[in-house]
Amino acid sequence: MKLDELPKLSNGMRFMIISAPYLHSVGVSVGVKYGSVYEPERINGSAHAAEHMLFQGTERRSAQDLEKFKNRHNLEWNAFTAPETVTYMIGAPRDSAEAAVDILSDMVQNSAIDAKLLENEKGAIVNEIMMRADNPLAMLYDTIPAVLFEGQKAAVSGAGKKETVLALARDEMFDVYCKNYTPANMVLSIYGGISKKRATELADRYFGGFQRPYTEPSLPDSIGPSKSKTIEIEKEGLNTTHAAIAFAIPGSRRILADNPRDIVALEVMSGYLSKKLHDEVRAQTGGSDPGISFYPNGTFGIFSIFLDCGSKKFERTNALVLSELEKLINGDINIDINADKVKNAAVLYFNTNQMELDHALTMAVEGAADQAVHSVTLRDFEGVVNEINNDQLHAAAQKYLKLGRAAQVIVRPPK
């Protein structure tokens, strides 16, 4: 279902409700279309800081009150900042569904963004940013977009830089909050052990009266790779090499929503490469399996292959991965043999998502995040899977996996 097809509350806020009454829990989630790509460079980290501050009190409840309310109703909560969205999630036992909707609506509508608490929270935010930099795998994840989209909005850190976070002023933060946390810019998702009627009532009661004007910020229509680049980071104290090859998928979900075969083809390629590289790397280098990650945002996506092969086997594994990618791009793979496996990998992906209906919170979050960035959920593409053929697969590989524009990031111990 596309964003425009979602039902709206009277104030224009879009919402999606999926009732699964047999589940013991309810997931309530709000996706806000304001992530790091919307930030002026000077306030990089403001989306992430806003995410933190929403848990630090509202006009009605102090941080301690929020915490007490959460504990009294046995809610679990979390949030994450992505390049284009911030997503808030509350998991609740089904008899606490109203409490979950109540507290989340209060947080996104009435955040106080207290100046003193902001200064306090900056310590935790900086700690989070620095801990990611200390962890080579997290460092790898964070460096890929910086290399792949150098000089573009998508290159900036989602969490923010230490310096810009420390410089954030309360009024700037409040301005960010008021401009972006508006009904027209958010999607509410409720999923799990609650009837559709009850969920609709709660959505209307707690979010329907929310009024705040919204002006959509300007954003480049597409974000694409600058050029092919390899970056090596020598980091002391490491025992092994952590590396990835990544491709930019420009306009990923927003554009691909109109061309679902492309996005399905990328999912299929992910499944194919995962299996193929497992077999080839183990057979030819005796090393450990590369991992594949396809991460579609709204306006850009990243297709990455992580080489968990160790320092000694890095060169051979890297060459092998590039060779398999070339075969895929050139259509030089044994298509007849692999076609069914490839399709099955994709079918499995969709079946798996179907089975994950068991997890209310996950689904609520996926719904809110996906919908907030003008996209469709991957499950909507299920029908396309059985139609896709190998010609389309090759075409998509040639279109998106351009070796001449790949970014390679290597984090290794000093030589």
């Binding site: 915490e67 046995n74 998991g91 306090n120 310590g123 801990m131 200390d134 496996k341 089975m355 068991d358």
Partner: protein
Amino acid sequence: MKLNKPFLLDNGLEVMINPARGLHSIGVAVGLDYGALNEPLKYSGDASVLQGVLYELDPTFRDRLAAEGIQDGTDIDYQVSTFWFKAPRQKITEACKLFTELLSQKKITENALESEKQDKIQSNLRRSDNPMYAALISLDRIMFKGSRAAIPTAGENSAIERITTSHLEKILRRAYAPDSMVLSIYGSVGFESAFRAVTNTFSALEGKSSVRKMDYEIPVPAPSSVSVKRPGVTQTNLAMGFRFNKTRSMDEEGIADWKTIDSISVLLDDRLFNELRNKRGLIYFCKSQPSSEGYFSSFYIYGGTQPKNLPEVKDLILKEIQKIKDGEFTREDLRRARRELKIRRETDLDNTEKEASELAYLRLTQGDQVFDEADPEGRIDMDRLRKVGGMFDPDKNYFASIEPK
């Protein structure tokens, strides 16, 4: 959930079938009585390597799982190895068939073993580069000094290198026998259908277990601390631990005590978040984790902070531990903890493979107690909370940190 009584197949395999209507999947899990504590030190990691190798022996196996839409996974702890499948609800027979095939293998090939060993070795190296993981490993080394529990269940790389095909085949003969396994099926399947699928497939498993019963007594070393200076890091990762030797016996009282430790973890997390993060912004996260291995148990607290904040963070954590020791709990604390544990238990029921695995594990480690859980949180009361809280002693903490060099 009222559990059905288990039944035995002729080959000695114990089977638990617990249908749960409405869910979209079926969890099929097998737990077997061989964990890291059974491993000879010179082959530490053999249980984990063996689990992985079984998937590598037949190159078509994973394809066939995928073709049926079945997800798979393994878990390992110090007592039990667990395998699980999560299958679409109409695939019970296929899941049981593939499971039987996986566990019937008796011959390990050199190629499969070598590639799995390299995978595990690399995985250990990769994890050790994560400072938080490194802090927890350092803590285990002092908290369980002199025992197998001082080493991660994944084993040490030098020991993994030594593992041979004949060593793993010996484990297969001795431990991978139906009479040392529990098969647990949970999810969207009728009892009769599951029964037919099981008897038509798992009955083919052969062998008799001859695993030597271990003496799980794990010595309690004197409290100590270790600080590792690591280049390339800017933050301090800290891990604090407490030991409760033989806390968890398999009787009703022991299990109730253990649930009380779980409830203390719930309350401590609330308090640490409030004191360290909300009030002072000292830390991004700080969590506690009880760990029970049946014959020994422990309690971890871990987090990361800026180096200058370490003394204050450590002091605040110890103050909260002192409050627990002094029995500072309110009726509201008790209500909060009991309800939280109940919700977690009920929510787990929505997750078929997790519930199937948990039931197999509990059956192996708790015996008949697993069937007597009508209101397990009801056994936690103020007296028990204070009694168990009294076991925490801030002066008897183990402490490890990874700090900037």
